[in-house]
Symmetry: C3
Subunit: 264 residues, 3 copies
């Protein structure tokens, strides 16, 4: 895990985010804490050029409009041409038909490298029924590992489903990560930032299964360390300490990784 993080810190990849209005600041500060270099650019006139110089492109539909989705597709195609990874975060897919349709349109028109969502969002994109309410979701009853595998086959990309256990699956294999704390669900944009951090890791490492697993484990460990320090002070303090801890992972934290590798 630490090796992957170290490469991010050394190479300081530019991560181009087309993301929602709620999480812009938290995403930028989180990427800086990790050692990446964030940029946000949404205008159709410049997204292709920005995506071309970025190491990874993040497409997040949390507060989508028709215009921003058009920009996302333009940016995604530009990244595809350069073989730069594209991360899609289909926030709230299934909550409205517009979101579901637009997420599918992006999946159709862009070669997405990593699709990251919660179980309900991914299920809705695969056509399965899952309980969903707004952009949050209960963990649901289904088998998340099976869902990740199925979605990965269906969309031909790496699929990450986050929840109590995080599952990463592609045609190379499937990993499960058991790091993280429930307090993360009390910080808006913690899933969105994770998508961007996965992008930062994928920008500097072509082995997507491996590097996404590292990013997710590292992210969960930072949350665990923050939760321990913050105790019961509350979600405000946790959010700030989490940003601190994202910048403080060392080689010694490697032992905290809880990764389960499932033979294909």
């Amino acid at each position: 895990m630490y090796t992957n993080l170290k490469v991010v810190q050394e190479q300081n990849p530019l991560v181009h985010n087309i993301t929602n209005q709620v999480v812009t600041n938290f995403t930028a500060n989180g990427l800086l804490a990790v050692g990446a270099s964030p940029v946000m650019a949404n205008a159709i006139e410049e997204v292709a050029e920005m995506a071309s110089i970025a190491g990874a492109v993040i497409l997040n539909i949390g507060t989508l409009t028709t215009e921003t989705v058009d920009a996302m597709i333009e940016a995604g195609k530009a990244a595809n041409e350069k073989d730069h990874p594209v991360i899609l975060d289909p926030v709230g897919a299934g909550a409205t038909s517009f979101r579901t349709a637009k997420a599918k349109q992006i999946l159709d028109e862009v070669n997405v490298t990593v699709l990251r969502g919660n179980a309900a969002e991914i299920a809705h994109l695969t056509g399965e029924q899952w309980e969903i309410k707004g952009v949050d979701t209960r963990s649901g009853e289904g088998d998340v590992t099976q869902l990740a595998k199925k979605a990965s086959e269906l969309f031909g990309c790496t699929v990450v489903i986050t929840g109590e256990v995080d599952v990463i699956s592609n045609n190379q294999g499937t990993n499960r990560v058991m790091n993280g704390v429930p307090l993360l669900t009390k910080v808006t944009g913690s899933g969105c930032l994770l998508s961007s951090v996965i992008g930062a890791f994928a920008a500097v490492n072509n082995d997507v299964l491996e590097t996404a697993t590292s990013a997710i484990s590292f992210y969960g460990i930072a949350a665990e360390k923050a939760a321990k320090l913050v105790g019961d002070r509350g979600p405000g303090s946790f959010q700030i300490e989490f940003l601190n801890q994202l910048s403080k992972i060392t080689e010694d934290d490697e032992v905290l990784c809880k990764i389960e590798r499932i033979t294909k």
Copy 2:
């Protein structure tokens, strides 16, 4: 007060915010701290569907555009059809003629449940003169309680005017809340978040006068507790501790309520 908060925490209502770009993150984290489930969605293509599944809809014109106001009206009408509460926060009404006109248009086309603003904003909407500068305002000379009553009659909804003393008025009666601290004015979006919190309370309780009063008193108490803990550390620390305290109100805090009920 605590009973109303407890219902929010138990029912975890989905609160649909069409709000300004400044306060999105703070609003979402504040709603999570209170126990509600925030969603932001502005696209005209989906606002009606999102508003239909939400327990309350918040319309905040802080960084309005013609497009977002169109979306607000669409969302408001969808909420009206489902009898879900609609909260209007007319940020900066009176500062420009565009804001005043758009706030009035929303009041005309949507059945607003709660109109919450400072004295200057509400005065401008009722046609009275009041000192206003940008989106902030001095408390002014007028009688805020009379203004709230007048606005409530004029618009046929519950009116909340916040300031040193908060006034809540509708055709059931008028309450005054004396909780809160001046430091709240140093945190951008503290009024906007309050509008959203009132929405969360109104989503789970039809007695709007009662539940809005509870929400406002609870909000002020959280600020008082935060201010006490933070001392003179400054507005940054206060903002974070306030988020902490929003998640930590217990039954024991009931004694801190400073509510004055004015017989009609």
Copy 3:
């Protein structure tokens, strides 16, 4: 330095920001901490009216669109008519041709009072080559003081280039400020907020060279004090403490100013 800050705190100038989606909240809270009164308004229908009542207008192209740049130009022209200062922050100029072109368009159509950027952004606008990556930048090899002087002559305005050393130059002279800490680069929007703070200072003092120098030195001192208090806790804690310290500068901090005045 303190005198200039004190005037801001006493006069509480309204600062109208048309800025990027990443920094809205941090900018508003930072301006409140300094003692100014922030407002954000982007709609073409109201920007001229808002700019007319504001003490200063900040134009920041961090997440520009064609529409927001049109609004910036409208707001800038309205401020020009009232002789109110206009601050331009050309975030990422040089990163894409769209940004460079739009920044130049604003410089062409609006009488900009202060142009503030990093060395790469300013160099790109003057037509010089400079290393740039996304919206961040390495300090580069060139002579920043010469660059500031050249840009000031070219654009006929005060130019501020921030970096390890900050340079302020106009036809009255050139100052260098050596306050600040590297941790500021780990807080997204620290440059953007500085532009807005310079606007708050310029709103209440016509001597732009002097007041911008004060604003920049004061800003750096707040960062130094925050860094000392935070130690190695991390960028999350630093961001919050920085907001605290922006509200806590006193006359005693005057001795911390590191300003070098270069005779013209």
